[in-house]
């Protein structure tokens, strides 16, 4: 069965590109959210297995949000993404509850699969 994914990003264009890429690679995109509040609400409602989460959201910091999501019952696997380099995040990435990080430009199904396996 295809893994279910919730895509969280404030940029509609990226949500579309990411959806197409993941669906082409066999994932089942079950929802989209454009800010932190919507992300929590959608996760509770839809219970996706994976959440693809942009680090820079208008109302939230991706790392804090990842921690919040991991506190939910049946927490999803969180994969962080950004147009910025992972270098820019310093120790936040290592300390985070997220499974890992994929730069937006390198996003593809196998990269996500490798992180959540």
């Amino acid at each position: 069965m295809a893994a279910t994914v919730l895509i969280v990003d404030d940029h509609a264009g990226f949500r579309l590109s990411a959806r197409r890429m993941l669906e082409a690679d066999g994932f089942d995109v079950v929802g989209e959210a454009k800010d932190g509040r919507e992300a929590i609400e959608a996760t509770v409602r839809i219970r996706p297995e994976i959440v693809l989460l942009d680090v820079y959201l208008p109302d939230a910091n991706g790392f804090d949000l990842a921690t919040e999501l991991s506190a939910l019952p049946e927490p999803p696997a969180v994969v962080l993404t950004s147009s910025h380099d992972s270098e820019d995040f310093g120790d936040c990435l290592i300390a985070s509850t997220a499974r890992g990080f994929v730069p937006k430009g390198d996003l593809c199904g196998s990269a996500v699969a490798a992180l959540v396996a």
């Binding site: 940029h11 264009g13 990226f14 590109s17 197409r20 082409a24 937006k104 390198d106 593809c108």
Partner: protein
Amino acid sequence: MRATAYETSDAMALLRAEHSVARLLAEANELSTDYPDLLRGIGETLGWQVAAAWETDPDDPSRLIRVAFWHSPEIAAGPLEDLRACSAMPVGHGLPGRVWASGVPAWIVDVTIDPNFPRAEAARAAGLQSAFCFPILTDEGIAGALEFFTPEPRMPDDHLLATMANLGRQIGHFIERARAHTAMHASEARMRAILEAALDCVVTMDEHGCVVEFNPAAERTFGYVRDEIVGKEMAELIVPPRLRELHRRGLQRYLDGGEAVVLNRRIEITGMRADGVEFPVELAITRIPVEGAPMFTGYLRDITERKRAEQELRASRARIVEATDSERRRLERNLHDGAQQRLVALSLSLRLARTRMDEDPAAAADLLEESVAELAGATAELRELARGIHPAVLTDRGLDAALKAVAGRAPVPVEVTSTLTERLPAPVEAAVYFVVAEALTNVARYAEASSASVCIERGDSSVTVEVSDDGMGGADPSTGFGLRGLDDRVATLDGTLEVVSPSGEGTIVRAEIPCV
């Protein structure tokens, strides 16, 4: 034959002569006006009927000139004309000349037969026979000579000559004192003129801390009248109440032999005006190098203006740095949200197209089509961004071309007129460009205008730019960082920016920048 008896009448006459001279000198101001009085005083008391006073010619120290002539009423004036006519004599010649050369009094029993008396003929015509002459002596040498004549033959009188020699020294002292007095007066007058005219406050204080001097600049700065405060304590007048004890203790410590902490260096402190208002002051104090009790002079300057200017400079620099930082943040955001996102989407689309190429070529072709459009969009955004940083057309083709370009992008018609005939210095062109760009941005955002105009005028020593629109006016230049940043940019070039925006009547943004 010498006179050997010193007769009482002669002694009395000599005393009277001395008194007469002493009294005249005591009452005299300038010796030149009193020579006739001196000659008369001595001549009358001693019975010598004709007299003259001689001094060095100021233009020729080897010549003596006669500066005064007196004769007793007993002698007729007519026959004296020839004698009187001779009014100059070389040093060494004649009676005054020989006295000048020798420095001691001289006596001639019969001038008409004296070998060194050029005026012999004139004396004979005047009926004069005996004469004596004595020098007026100062520390610097002989200042003059007084000579006396009488028709009778008289023998040399040592007592008289001794008395006259004394008088010569007395008169000499008087002249010296008068000269020193004049020199001191002149020097004092010069110093006073300097103090009166000085821009800085010059204030002098004695060892009790009381005002001794207070120049006009100090009067103006502190609001006191000199004559009203001389003798009053300085601390009470110009030092703020909370600092007075410090001032007094400092003075006392110095007088007790302590170190001079505040002397001879520039200090910034607070002063106080007569009305109690405090203000910043730059101060330097020196001790006046005279003997006796110490006196101090303070040189003060009101630095309120300077402090205000420093403050404004710091504030303006901070604004400029903040504006630069803010601009960079804006750029970063624009790049991130705009072009960068598009390039990410492009990357995903192209990679997707690559994987779908074999199994679904039609889908791959659609993706490539999308990518082309996305790329064009990203390029356009980057171009716009670069224009915002610094428009290439301004550098390459100058102000007119750049302004027409920015006017062309405005949402309302903008008429551009310009009297420029040549390029301006780069900072001036940039300032004018950004004033117009920002003003037109505000027109697009707030003015609800139907048209606008941009007018550039080149004067002899400045360039003026005016952007006006027919919108709703009411613009407040203090809000909106855009106009504030322009203010700083224009002010850096010593220019001025003004905004006239009455409510309901449109807006005019006018900048004038000096430019030779």
